[in-house]
């Protein structure tokens, strides 16, 4: 090739002009999280090193007092046990989901997702109704003559394990199912043609290929489990005190803020270490994508006939699925029982407990408080989260992961830390006790959900549409209103629904930031369950489940309609 033109040296490259828009759009969420999330957590960290003057006294006590050492050990041990149980139960379920027909799979999926989206508090309350001394399980066992005396299933280790495994299992089932679907069916055929038995296929092909999905799910479970509060607090006994419970006890009973802060820092650092490891190993997307496994060209499914082992696995999977939905289903007959006792099956049916619920000003006021909190949390988090998602998508690729990490941190850090930190920060200001303050605090929890759903919707938005609109003469505002907004509207709607569920189900923040007058429905329920379960709580549970189903159905109808349009 001949150079016809005299060669010039290129002028120094200028950085691409991205403008201030991305920063302006991201700023509100940054400010919100700085004030309502990072600042209170930093206050706690400071407090753990002494209120006046630096001291390691609190940490020294954590290591020296045997009780505290035992709690720390217990927390990680129980979290590990829950993780193992989740993985063990998830394999048969994921296998079953992957090997049934399309229509059956849809039904089975509902059995996984319904508990996933039902408030953890409701599920915990239902388990207590089933497992307690005079609960459903014991009455069935005794009336069938299998046992003479009631067995203690709850307020001990088994209660904590059952409750937490039930709450956290979907975090393994979903990525594991995705991992199964990412396995190419021809791999199984190839292994069989080379002489592998069903067991060898499972051990040598399926297990290694699904391992990354399982490890991702297990990490999320473990991370959640070490900071969990509601379920262990309600279903465990004194021997199952976890870090989170020790924190509340030090604040509410012992009034030892320094020690509570030190415990919080231990919890925070443990969570962040696990989170960092997860992010290094799997990337941030895996945290929310339900495994993120790309479907194989011909995804793993049933090859010919099920083997003997396959039948056993499928049967176990079905039993586990039944256990997943059981507490949710059983709430309904219990709520419609005519009996003042938690008898099963109920001797006769009536709506008296629902009537009781609606007649009691305590419950009605708590519903209003919940809605007031949501009326702040949902619109605010939708506006701020959407803006941040659009802003982040326009940031230079180098900075994007950092912003995304900051924005999702509130989903990762145990809520109990946020509750304690905000309580400490806000109580001197005299703004506690208002449901609107609670709503503002919940925005920090809700906005990340909006951020993630809108971010996902933006990934499906063809950037050339934006260029085409501008090229045809549209300014940025017009382009956003007429082209981008219609495209990402389903994502925003889904984000709003997740934000609402987060706000409406929140117990932990409400426990710290509300009082008797401003308590929300979940807090009123929590107190009822902690004190003594009466049938009105079953009615409240049933109403919350129905409401959740309604909201999710609306979401489903909405997304389906926009997809068909």
């Amino acid at each position: 090739m001949t150079a016809t033109r005299p060669l010039r040296t290129p002028p120094p490259a200028r950085p691409a002009r991205t403008g201030l828009l991305p920063w302006g759009l991201s700023a509100p969420l940054v400010v919100l999280l700085a004030v309502l999330f990072i600042w209170p957590v930093l206050l706690l960290m400071g407090l753990s090193f002494g209120e006046d003057g630096f001291t390691l006294e609190h940490y020294r006590r954590l290591l020296e007092v045997p009780l505290y050492r035992r709690v720390l050990g217990n927390t990680f041990l129980i979290a590990a046990m829950v993780t193992v149980l989740c993985v063990a139960f998830s394999y048969p379920v994921a296998y079953l989901l992957a090997t049934v027909g399309e229509r059956t799979r849809k039904i089975l999926f509902v059995m996984v997702l319904l508990p996933f989206w039902t408030s953890a508090l409701v599920r915990t309350a239902a388990w207590i109704v089933i497992l307690q001394r005079n609960g459903i399980l014991n009455s069935v066992l005794q009336s069938s003559g299998l046992t003479d005396d009631p067995i203690a299933f709850v307020y001990n280790l088994s209660g904590v394990l059952i409750g937490m495994t039930h709450v956290l299992m979907p975090f393994v089932v979903l990525p594991l199912y995705a991992a199964f679907r990412a396995i190419d069916a021809s791999l199984v055929l190839a292994a069989q043609s080379l002489g592998a038995s069903a067991l060898s296929v499972a051990r040598r092909v399926i297990l290694p290929l699904t391992a990354p999905g399982v490890i991702a799910g297990a990490t999320i479970v473990f991370m959640n489990a070490i900071g969990y509060y509601i379920t262990p607090a309600l279903m465990g006994g004194p021997g199952q005190t976890l870090i989170s419970m020790l924190i509340t006890q030090n604040i509410n009973v012992d009034l030892n803020w320094g020690l509570a802060a030190a415990l919080s820092v231990v919890l925070l650092v443990s969570t962040l270490v696990i989170f960092a490891a997860f992010q290094r190993a799997f990337g941030l997307d895996r945290l929310f994508a339900g495994g993120g496994g790309r479907g194989a060209a011909q995804p793993f499914g049933l090859q010919g006939r099920r083997s003997g082992g396959g039948w056993i696995a499928a049967a176990v999977g079905l039993v586990v699925l039944a256990l997943l939905v059981a507490p949710i289903v059983l709430v309904f007959p219990m709520a419609a029982s005519n009996s003042p006792y938690l008898q099963f099956p109920p001797p006769s049916y009536s709506l008296r407990w629902f009537a009781n619920f609606f007649d009691d000003p305590k419950w009605i006021r708590s519903i209003w408080n919940s809605l007031k909190a949501a009326s702040v949390a949902v619109p605010l988090s939708v506006a701020i989260g959407t803006a941040a998602a659009i802003g982040t998508s326009r940031l230079p690729a180098r900075l994007r992961p950092w912003m995304e990490t900051i924005f999702v941190l509130p989903m990762v850090v145990p809520v109990i830390l946020l509750g304690v930190g905000l309580y400490y920060m806000l109580s001197p200001l005299g703004v506690l006790g208002s449901p609107y303050t609670l709503g503002l605090a919940q925005t920090a929890l809700c906005a990340p959900y909006v951020f993630i759903t809108v971010r996902a919707a933006l990934k499906g938005f063809d950037p050339s549409l934006e260029l085409a609109a501008m090229n045809l003469g549209a300014g940025w505002g017009t382009m956003f209103r007429r082209i981008m907004l219609p495209a990402i509207a389903p994502g925003i709607a889904a984000g709003a629904i997740f934000a609402f569920i987060q706000s409406f189900d929140d117990v932990v923040l409400a426990l710290f930031l509300t009082n008797v007058r401003s308590r929300t429905l979940p807090r009123a329920m929590y107190e009822g369950v902690a004190h003594e379960i009466d049938p009105t709580i079953n009615a409240a549970s049933a109403l919350i489940i129905l409401f959740t189903i309604l909201v999710l159905a609306l979401n489903l109808i909405f997304t389906r309609r926009t997809r068909n349009a």
Partner: protein, 331 residues
């Protein structure tokens, strides 16, 4: 469209663009005359798409000037440039009907309603999509979507129409019929078109002028005939059409396959000896592949009787007219 749509001239001087340390455009100069169909032809990474993006205003330039009809547009924002663009994936707004897609640019210009209706209708007639006006883009075939994209870009009476591999997603038969329509449309409307493709046949088929690009530089700029008959470099000769490169005793030379015929050379002709490897009957023509001194050569001749074909494995002479020999000064 009756509104006299005559394209404007584009003039580009000293265009530099880099992503990171590596320049993508090396100080390019390019002139496109009003109403001309000019094609940027190059492999991926040659800088041709970047060139379009810079002209459309989607990318900033590091240095250089872009003028339309003598007016510098470097500082004009994208939305005010009045440049039509047909995207590789069409970029039709999926939630708007075909009609709303086409009228979008007119609405953005704040034209009166009846004019929008009239011009949108005309544009849809022009691409023969009137009956599909109320459908959503997702309900159309690839070829129909392509025509919607074209109508949408043309309806705003653009000063220049940029097309980024617009036929790449279509199958071969459809591509050829749309090429014919596009050529007719261009003649009819007199719009200036700057077209990007990596397909040399498409470039030959459509263009008044072809600009061959290589690694961010212009390798040659000329009519299709000039580029084929007098390629400026071995790169252009190899990129546009097939070419035999021969290492002769007097230095390297090249010849197009249809100019190389079996048989000994006469006066004013050049000869090479080569061993016949394959003979392929292509219908009207027959292709002879042989091993020559510089490597493989091909000769394409009008098909004669089967008996006249050379024997595989035989060593025969090929010749070409001196006038058809391509040589370049040593680089």
């Amino acid at each position: 469209m009756p509104d006299a749509l005559i394209g404007k001239a584009v003039s580009i001087r000293g265009l530099w663009k880099s992503y990171g340390p590596q320049p993508v455009l090396h100080g390019l100069d390019l002139d496109v005359a009003a109403g001309e169909f000019c094609t940027l032809l190059g492999a991926s990474g040659s800088g041709k798409t970047t060139m379009l993006k810079v002209i459309a205003g989607f990318e900033t330039t590091d240095d250089g000037a872009i003028a339309i009809d003598g007016r510098d547009i470097a500082r004009v924002p994208v939305a005010k440039r009045n440049i039509g663009m047909v995207f590789q994936n069409y970029a039709l707004f999926p939630h708007m009907s075909v009609r709303r897609n086409v009228s979008f640019g007119l609405e953005m210009r704040g034209l009166p309603k009846d004019e929008i209706t009239r011009r949108t209708g005309q544009a849809l007639e022009l691409v023969e999509l009137g009956p599909f006006a109320e459908r959503l883009p997702g309900a159309l075939s690839g070829g129909q979507q392509q025509r919607v994209a074209l109508a949408r870009a043309l309806v705003i009476n653009p000063d220049i129409l940029l097309m980024d591999e617009p036929l790449g997603a279509l199958d071969k038969n459809l591509r050829q019929s749309i090429q014919l329509q596009l050529k007719a449309l261009h003649r009819e409307l007199g719009v200036t078109i700057l077209y990007v493709t990596h397909d040399q046949e498409e470039a030959l088929h459509l263009s008044d002028r072809i600009v061959v690009m290589d690694k961010g530089r212009i390798a040659q700029n000329g009519t299709p005939e000039e580029l084929y008959n007098a390629p400026a470099s071995p790169f252009v000769a190899g990129f546009l059409g097939e070419c035999n490169f021969v290492d002769g005793p007097a230095g390297p030379w090249a010849v197009r396959p249809e100019k190389l015929r079996p048989g000994p050379a006469g006066a004013g002709q050049r000869e090479i000896q080569a061993e016949v490897e394959t003979v392929i009957f292509l219908g009207a023509a027959t292709k002879i592949v042989a091993r020559g001194p510089g490597g493989q050569i091909t000769s394409v001749v009008t098909s004669g009787p089967a008996a006249a074909r050379p024997e595989i494995g035989s060593r025969i002479a090929f010749h070409a007219d001196e006038a058809d020999i391509l040589t370049w000064p040593a680089a």
